[in-house]
């Protein structure tokens, strides 16, 4: 990406923040971010229960509206009663950041070709968070079979690994938002 602003970090952070605000003054992107939050939050929470999610979506004898509510709304709405505060905050942080990142990515893609978007655009963060699974306090995650292959069977180890991945995911996405904000700021500067 040849059009990155080369300036001191403080200037780049301010430019990135301006780019961020430019995206979210458009309410359509706020709505896209909100949908992204529901999508990514659900993805993490349901990652441990793929079979059950499939059952809810395809077989549970309720209306389609209730099925969608059960998958995308109920787990996030009651996240602080279902999980402990640390877990719930980790999942919420990841979901909000992923939602914002997705909206910014779409904003950029509407104005630039796919080749011009930053290389680190949040995919790695999403993979990390899904691997971490939604249930880091349960002594399990979808990492369990993989970890067991390497002889790591301690519940404490898996929980620590899951927690670490969850927070690493959020850090990666923060970096992605920063880079996208810079790109938006650069695009706006060129359009002036």
């Amino acid at each position: 990406m040849s059009n990155t602003i080369k300036a001191p970090l403080s200037i780049r952070l301010k430019a990135s923040a301006r780019g961020f605000l430019a995206v979210f003054t458009d309410l359509r992107y706020v709505a896209i971010a909100a949908l992204g939050i529901l999508f990514f939050g659900s993805l993490v929470i349901w990652s441990l229960n793929l079979e059950f999610a499939r059952y809810v979506l395809l077989e549970l004898p309720v209306s389609l509206g209730v099925r969608l509510q059960t998958i995308f709304w109920d787990p996030l709405w009651s996240i602080f009663t279902t999980y402990n505060n640390t877990q719930a905050l980790g999942i919420m942080l990841f979901s909000v950041l992923s939602g914002l990142n997705s909206a910014m990515l779409i904003y950029v893609l509407k104005r630039q070709s796919f080749r011009n978007i930053p290389k680190k655009s949040g995919f790695g963060g999403t993979v990390f968070a899904v691997l971490a699974g939604g249930c880091v306090a349960c002594g399990t995650s979808i990492l369990a079979p993989l970890a067991a292959t390497f002889g790591a069977t301690s519940g404490a180890f898996l929980r620590d690994l899951s927690t670490m991945l969850n927070w690493a995911a959020s850090l990666l996405i923060i970096y992605s938002i920063y880079k996208l904000g810079l790109l938006v700021a650069t695009m706006q500067a060129k359009n002036r």
Partner: protein, 239 residues
């Protein structure tokens, strides 16, 4: 612009497809997702990568929270040392009791899945020992309440890996929930109920439950806690 949206739709669709298609079968889960078993546990729990034994659920001793005649059953796999189980008991479990269990619509069948430490196994023994004296539910509530009030409510999760629940403490916690405390003590210190607990663990493994709290409802496996709204939706489909 349209191409970009098509690519995003393809990626999201792919993620969703992966989400739906990669779930292992129940048998694969039973064989591969063997939980973390603490080998210092007093119980002879199933070893890693071994196929769990077959258990006849119809003849197995069952531990119920609520009336055994309630029409809907939620099976819970729990470890008394697990903080998430404690939170489930304190928050969602209490809501279920008020709305469904106390009204005779739902029963929770509790199965032990003691994998955190030696005292997990000791506390698990206590469930069947208390059941033999008609005091399972009171014992279950008392042990979860003790761990929550003393450790987890204040965020002291490190205690999960300390050997806290000694036989003496379990007797003290059980208090009046059992009529004969000496009988409870000798039962917890013996291996009298270990085969039933191993049946619980085998059933968890066959169900594909990989941690606690884990659940099965109408044949569906659920790992980790569910929101009360989701549980209500499930239960209401059976009422």
């Amino acid at each position: 612009m349209n191409k970009a949206f098509i690519w995003i739709a393809i990626v999201l669709g792919g993620l969703f497809g992966l989400f739906m298609l990669t779930a292992p079968t129940t048998e694969e889960a039973a064989r591969n997702n063997t939980p973390s078993v603490d080998t210092s546990s007093p119980l002879d729990l199933a070893t890693e990568n071994a196929a769990p034994k077959q258990v006849d659920e119809s003849t197995k001793t069952k531990l119920f929270i609520g009336s055994s005649t309630a029409p809907v059953t939620l099976v819970e796999y729990g470890d008394f040392k697990c903080p998430a189980c404690g939170q489930f008991h304190q928050v969602i479990g209490q809501e279920l009791r008020q709305k469904y269990i106390d009204t005779g619509q739902l029963k929770i069948e509790f199965r032990n899945f003691p994998f955190i430490g030696p005292d997990s196994g000791r506390a698990a023994r206590g469930t069947y020992c208390a059941h033999n004296q008609g005091g399972f539910q009171a014992y279950h509530d008392a042990v979860y309440d003790y761990m929550w009030d003393t450790y987890y409510a204040s965020g002291n999760y490190a205690s999960e890996f300390e050997d806290i629940l000694t036989t003496d403490l379990l007797i003290e916690i059980a208090g009046d929930s059992v009529a004969d405390q000496d009988k409870l003590r000798s039962c917890i210190d013996s291996d009298d109920v270990d085969s039933i607990i191993n049946d619980d663990v085998a059933l968890a493994q066959w169900a594909g439950v990989t941690g606690t709290p884990g659940f099965t409802f109408d044949g569906q496996k659920i790992n980790g806690p569910l929101s009360i709204a989701t549980l209500e939706t499930l239960i209401n489909t059976k009422l």
